[in-house]
């Protein structure tokens, strides 16, 4: 093994083998935050959903905002990783696993909210199609049932997409450790040895999964948007909602990925592997998505304003000028003005710049989900049915706990699994092959003669 491979293996296995007091402090702190959310949930289960600020006509608020937000964040990982794998982007190697983990945990957190929102969460299995004693199966014409199918497909696919390329690394950890760790990682490695057949099958499977997971990821957030756009409700019943939600999901996902990578780089000392160029490239993607988000918002707002329908304009002005205007304009600043300003200039597109822009985007995208749901529900067609909404402590605690849970899961995962794919990093060090260089030369010639 060359020096690079030895250092790489040592650096990436260190967090798995050595545990510092900082890890335990952080884990206990985060567990405390998550416990607050569990307490708030237990309080809600005991006293009923009336302990929330929900009331007629606003029946969806923080919980569904959290649901849409976290499903959006989940688009960071598998989708980006799959696209980068398919286009064979070399710089993807240290990024993919960091990203795929976000997908799995964000999906788990997001998918929990429709269940929390049920009020009687213990009956959630009624959503599943099984021959029930009630003799009624779920209605496949309901977008909420579509959610169940889309999210469970995406969660299954993403979990497998994360697990498969981890198997060779589990085998490596198995060989490098002793005692319970050897048994634990040996079980996870499934007896992987690394024969040429196993490598070939793994790479083929990853290619197929990457092809399959991209349309599934797009479908998931499109279907989440259908929860809204299938209803004839002002500002929801729009054909633009599918792509608008998908773009927003990828936007917030990239922001979450940048924050996670910066934290890993700092706390696990991965400076040798997560280079400024990775943040530079993701920063460019974030800039592109910010511009795309701005385009969608403009198209949506202009169409509504030009149509001048009374019920739609009521919601429109609520967000532009009235009670929701401070949140709306904050969203515009942190989702568009701030990232475009920072990321357009190469000098500002540093790790710090990308992280600042990303924090803004995460905040802005949560606000966007909130502003899609609450102003519309509180100002539907008939003015006598208008109402207002103010969150109460249990809802706020649940929201805070989701962020705590995300960080806690991420910290625990990076403690148990190499957060960067070791074998993929090693492949990145292989010398460039002669036939690859020839193909590039041929491609360059083609572009010169047949532009």
């Amino acid at each position: 093994m060359n020096d690079y491979a030895i250092t790489l293996t040592d650096d990436l296995l260190r967090p798995l083998i050595k545990t510092s007091w900082r890890f335990w402090t952080l884990a206990i702190l985060l567990f405390g935050v998550v416990s607050l959310g569990i307490g708030a949930f237990a309080y809600q289960v005991h006293y009923g959903i009336g302990v929330w600020g929900l009331n007629s006509p606003v029946f969806w608020a923080f919980d569904i905002t959290n649901f849409v937000f976290w499903i959006g964040i989940s688009h960071a990982g598998t989708l980006i990783s799959a696209i980068l794998r398919l286009v064979n982007a070399e710089w993807r190697r240290p990024v993919t696993r960091c990203a795929e983990v976000i997908t799995v945990f964000a999906l788990m957190i997001g998918a929990m909210f429709p269940i929390v929102h049920l009020g009687r969460p213990w009956l959630f299995f009624w959503l599943m199609p099984y021959p029930s004693e009630r003799l009624i199966w779920p209605n496949f014409r309901s977008p909420l049932v579509w959610d169940f199918f889309a999210i469970s497909t995406y969660l299954t696919g993403s979990s497998l997409f994360l697990y498969l390329p981890t198997i060779p690394d589990f085998a490596l950890v198995r060989d490098k450790t002793t005692g319970w760790r050897r048994k634990f990682y040996g079980a996870l490695a499934l007896g992987w040895t690394g024969t040429t057949k196993q490598w070939h099958r793994l790479e083929s499977a990853m290619q197929i999964m990457a092809i399959a997971i991209v349309p599934v990821a797009v479908s998931v957030h499109t279907i989440v948007s259908f929860d809204f756009s299938m209803a004839p409700v002002p500002m929801w019943h729009s054909t633009i909602f599918g792509p608008y939600f998908v773009a927003g999901a990828i936007f917030s996902g990239i922001a979450a990925l940048i924050i996670a990578m910066a934290a890993l780089r700092k706390f696990l000392h991965l400076e040798k592997y997560l280079h400024p160029v990775h943040f530079e490239n993701l920063g460019k993607l974030l800039l592109m998505m910010s511009l795309l988000w701005g385009y969608f918002v403009f198209a949506e707002r202009l169409t509504t304003w030009y149509g001048n329908g009374p019920s739609e304009m009521t919601v429109f002005w609520q967000t532009q000028r009235q009670s929701f205007a401070p949140l709306y304009w904050t969203m515009v600043v942190v989702n568009f003005v701030l990232p475009v300003t920072i990321l357009s200039f190469r000098k500002l597109r540093t790790i710090t710049g990308c992280v600042i822009a990303s924090f803004g985007v995460v905040l802005g995208m949560w606000l966007e989900r909130f502003l899609i749901i609450v102003p519309t529900l509180s100002h539907k067609y008939l003015s006598y049915s208008w109402g207002s909404y103010r969150p109460r402590t249990p809802e706020i605690l649940l929201l805070v706990a989701t962020f705590g849970a995300m960080v806690l899961f991420y910290v625990l995962f990076s403690k148990l699994v190499p957060i960067i794919s070791i074998w993929e990093m090693k492949i990145g060090q292989h010398p460039q092959l002669a036939h690859e260089q020839m193909s590039r030369d041929e491609a360059a010639t083609m572009w010169r003669t047949q532009p």
Binding site: T193, H200, R201, S219
Partner: protein, 169 residues
């Protein structure tokens, strides 16, 4: 069964040993090459290329598609509830379920096919050396079938192995 294997530092050395074994009359299928990372540029990595996973994924997708059609259409016909003015068998909304189940079928089949064709999980003794995790490449052959230990050792020397060992499988 006894097997004999060499450990090599570099993939080109492993390739020389692989070629040496083939020249000595060992069938390609009998040669085991184990490494800590894939080496796509070398001949020994190319003998297992096949499209079986892609084909099986397609079959899985078709199974998912048919199951989804049966589930949605069958349910709607068994409980003919009119919803939102839609027909009893409403294909537009059903397409959502059909798409998701088709993709799920393809994904799950891919993973199951990977596990079966790679013989995973496997907890029985196979030709392996933990030195592979230190970057060594293992090239080995089971003895028998008219092969002598000397001829295999000689063929492995073509790649100048860092060690030659025997293993009981």
């Amino acid at each position: 069964m006894t097997a004999i294997y060499g450990l090599f530092d570099k993939p080109d050395a492993a390739q020389r040993a692989y070629t040496g074994l083939k020249r000595a009359g060992v069938a390609s299928a009998d040669i085991t090459v184990v490494s800590g990372e894939p080496f796509e540029a070398f001949e020994f990595s190319h003998r297992d290329h096949s499209l079986i996973l892609f084909r099986l994924a397609l079959v899985g997708g078709i199974i998912g598609f048919v199951s989804a059609v049966l589930l949605t259409r069958g349910t709607e016909l068994a409980w003919p509830l009119v919803t939102g003015g839609m027909p009893i068998v409403a294909w537009w909304p059903n397409l959502v379920i059909i798409f998701e189940m088709t993709m799920l079928g393809a994904i799950v089949t891919t993973v199951i096919s990977l596990l079966i064709t790679s013989k995973l999980p496997s907890f029985r003794q196979t030709l392996y050396d933990p030195a592979v995790s230190d970057g060594k490449i293992l090239v080995g052959v089971p003895l028998g079938g008219g092969r002598s230990e000397e001829s295999v050792r000689e063929a492995l020397q073509a790649g100048a192995p860092s060690a030659v060992k025997t293993a009981q499988l």
